[in-house]
Symmetry: C2
Subunit: 213 residues, 2 copies
């Protein structure tokens, strides 16, 4: 079995959501799997890179808001965005993910997909610990145990280490993929990840995903 | 004849160069033409968006430097980068372009391609006014007239207006394309521009540039 694809994402990221709806199928087509790693754009973009949140950036913010629905259509993924502020606190969801992951990695991925779909198909409030508890219960966990986990210093530390590890590998945006040492940033690089998985090189080929060369 | 593609770029941008080597052929395949518009990332990225220069941004800078050569290979475009600082002052080249454009638009595009190839295939110093004068002479212009043009307040104002107009249309990165009111940012969106020109919508199609949906 070839090495898995590491898939990094922030639960608040619409582009991360679009990629999340695609990455497992894409990986499977190439006999790979995807390991999911939530991280926090607030750490990478704001603290480490010293930038503004993307959607608050002049010119780029409006472009990205326009880009999301058309990319969703091209990927054939349903996407709903709230009328007002798209941002929310994704830290509780990240903590919930790692709390669950360290017990049952398989269920954590299902949980992550469910949270993303709740957020970007139903505009649910996935920053709400009570909502996270309900979703954890639906997967067979104790809701109260999850609520305790969200406050557990060990879980907080676990998230911090996960983010540090992502940053150490060069991850900064959501989605971000690393496979065979090759990094890919952006939902609009799925075609390039697909190319790499198919060929393992950067040789242009007729009929490839880019315009003929 | 359908509307032309507006192609925005900064002469200092390696991704702009890669796009420049492709855009006219891409346009022609769809019975379109491309209008070339140099602008200044120093105005959009640094002054208006309040960001650092891309290559000086932690995490993103190293990623982009790694991304350039592989994207060049995929596009089958030769690319050489200087060992040291990739940045240079692209204002004289932009002034030279508009100075020439307002006399002979056809020659200005040839001039722009030549400058980009000099920079990114031979690592020539295209910030040097004397070099710009030599290249203008090769296209039948007076080198001294170009050197005078670079100091001409009217030419300086012309560049300022061109950048303002680009910003007014939402342009911020290099390359940037606008056609039929649709904006596209990045050399890695050529496939999406191609899709738009072929179909005029965002409906996913089997065999399209993205992984099957």
């Amino acid at each position: 079995m070839p090495a898995p694809i590491d898939f990094y994402f922030d639960f608040l990221s619409p582009f991360g959501y679009l990629a999340a709806m695609k990455i497992d199928d894409l990986a499977a087509r190439h006999n790979r799997t995807a390991n999911w790693h939530p991280f926090l754009l607030g750490i990478t973009v704001v603290k480490i890179m010293g930038l503004k949140p993307l959607l608050d950036t002049p010119l780029k913010g409006p472009y990205l808001l326009r880009d999301m629905p058309r990319l969703a259509k091209l990927l054939n993924v349903p996407l709903k965005l709230p009328e007002g502020d798209v941002m929310f606190d994704s830290l509780p969801a990240a903590r919930a993910f790692y709390w669950m992951h360290d017990q049952r990695p398989d269920k954590a991925k299902t949980f992550a997909k469910r949270l993303y779909m709740l957020r970007f198909q139903e505009i649910a409030d996935i920053a709400d610990p009570e909502r996270l508890a309900v979703e954890a219960q639906a997967l067979g966990f104790s809701g109260n145990a999850l609520l305790d986990g969200l406050q557990d210093p060990a879980v907080k530390q676990r998230v911090k280490e996960a983010v540090d590890e992502a940053v150490g590998r060069g991850v900064f945006g959501s989605p971000f993929f690393i496979v065979d040492g090759e990094p890919f940033w952006g939902c609009d690089r799925l075609w390039m990840l697909d190319h790499w998985l198919a060929h393992g090189d950067w040789v242009a080929r007729p009929g490839g995903p880019l315009p003929p060369v």
